[in-house]
């Protein structure tokens, strides 16, 4: 207490010295270890934010890749199915139809050699809708030569009237055909329907 004996003795230097002495306290040797252990447990409890970010980014990339891959597969399958539906409608070039199926010979419409207006070629609104015509309606197949001939016939019929005499000359076999004689229809008779004699009167 020598410094404090009088008011003059209590200087700033003495006060600072006392303060430094009072605050010159060191933590216990275990303090550092305790703090490190606690920080380590904190570190283990909370994984690194970078790792979280990496995992989140990887998950996003995987999801995007999955979605893109799936949509591509869908598109490829739809395209494949459309091409398989279109292909039978086209005419084979060799004049021979290699595919089995009915041959359209309807001359009343020019649609015979065209593909049937099926729903297969409509753009489907749903992503996974399948072309229905492939299963529902028959395919129209026609030989290349016949198609060509029909096409020519229709175009000629549209542009110029058909000259029958010249046709008869060109095809004498057709002209030589005799018109059919009068068709005789036998008269229609109605037989009364009655029970068979053997079956009636057998009751007892």
């Amino acid at each position: 207490m020598d410094d404090h004996e009088s008011a003059e003795a209590l200087t700033d230097a003495a006060l600072d010295r006392d303060l430094e002495a009072a605050l010159a306290v060191d933590p216990s040797p275990e303090f550092g270890v305790r703090v490190r252990t606690r920080v380590q447990s904190e570190r283990d409890a909370a994984p690194s934010p970078w790792r979280w970010r990496i995992m989140a980014a990887a998950a996003c990339v995987a999801i995007i890749a999955l979605v893109v891959g799936t949509s591509r597969q869908d598109r490829a399958r739809v395209a494949r199915e459309e091409s398989t539906v279109r292909r039978p409608a086209t005419v084979t070039s060799g004049g021979q139809d290699t595919r089995p199926g009915p041959v359209a010979q309807d001359s009343t419409a020019g649609q015979a050699f065209r593909p049937a207006p099926t729903t297969a070629f409509r753009k489907s609104t749903g992503r996974r809708s399948r072309p229905r015509a492939a299963v529902g309606e028959p395919e129209l197949l026609i030989a290349a030569g016949e198609a060509r001939a029909l096409r020519q016939l229709f175009s000629n019929a549209r542009t110029a009237p058909i000259d029958l005499p010249s046709l008869q000359e060109a095809a004498p076999a057709i002209a030589a055909l005799q018109p059919p004689s009068e068709i005789a229809f036998p008269p229609i008779t109605f037989e009364p329907i009655g029970p068979a004699p053997a079956e009636e009167g057998d009751r007892q």
Partner: protein, 187 residues
């Protein structure tokens, strides 16, 4: 793609490790400072260690968000100071509750009669009577011989403010200690 992601992950983990190492370094540098700041408020070794530890855990949680790592000490000091004040308040409330139910004990033991301890006790009493602002500059100036500039950096205050606060604090301390000397407490 996978290779790129792997390299990126390695790089980020390396950054993570750097941050961990830097924190370890800061912890080694500043552990005594944090303890002394807490001790300056609480004057209980165990409490001060607990508070300093808590401050380090908080600092670790937020270390990555600290933009200017050079200001770590100032940041840690302010955090420790606030935590120590909180602890002091709760200690006081608890002490008050305990005093209400406690049986009277002898005022002092033999050790308290030692002159140095008495002087230190008087000094702490005087420090306790200071306002928080004056107490902070007084304690920080007393720790490890910090000068005005260092105290200003730690408290994020202008040097002039620290100087005036320190002046006021010293004057009040001297007055209180003088009063204690001339009117010693009765035992």
């Amino acid at each position: 793609m996978h290779e790129y992601v792997g390299r990126l992950a390695d790089g980020l983990v390396a950054v993570d490790d750097d941050v961990e190492r830097e924190f370890e370094t800061r912890l080694a540098e500043s552990s005594t400072l944090a303890f002394r700041v807490a001790f300056g408020v609480l004057r209980q070794r165990q409490d001060a260690e607990d508070v300093a530890q808590e401050a380090f855990v908080k600092a670790y949680r937020c270390f990555r968000q600290l933009r200017d790592r050079d200001r770590f000490r100032a940041w840690l000091v302010r955090m420790t100071w606030r935590l120590a004040l909180d602890r002091q308040r709760s200690n006081r409330r608890r002490a008050t509750r305990e005093l209400e139910h406690a049986t009277p004990t002898p005022a002092a033991n033999a050790a308290d009669t030692i002159v140095a301890q008495e002087r230190t006790a008087q000094l702490w009493q005087a420090i306790d009577r200071l306002s928080d602002k004056l107490r902070a500059v007084t304690i920080l100036a007393g720790i490890e011989g910090h000068d005005l500039r260092e105290v200003a950096l730690l408290l994020n205050l202008p040097e002039g403010t620290v100087k005036s606060r320190l002046f006021l604090a010293r004057r009040q301390l001297k007055e209180q200690l003088q009063w204690t000397i001339t009117n010693p407490p009765r035992r």
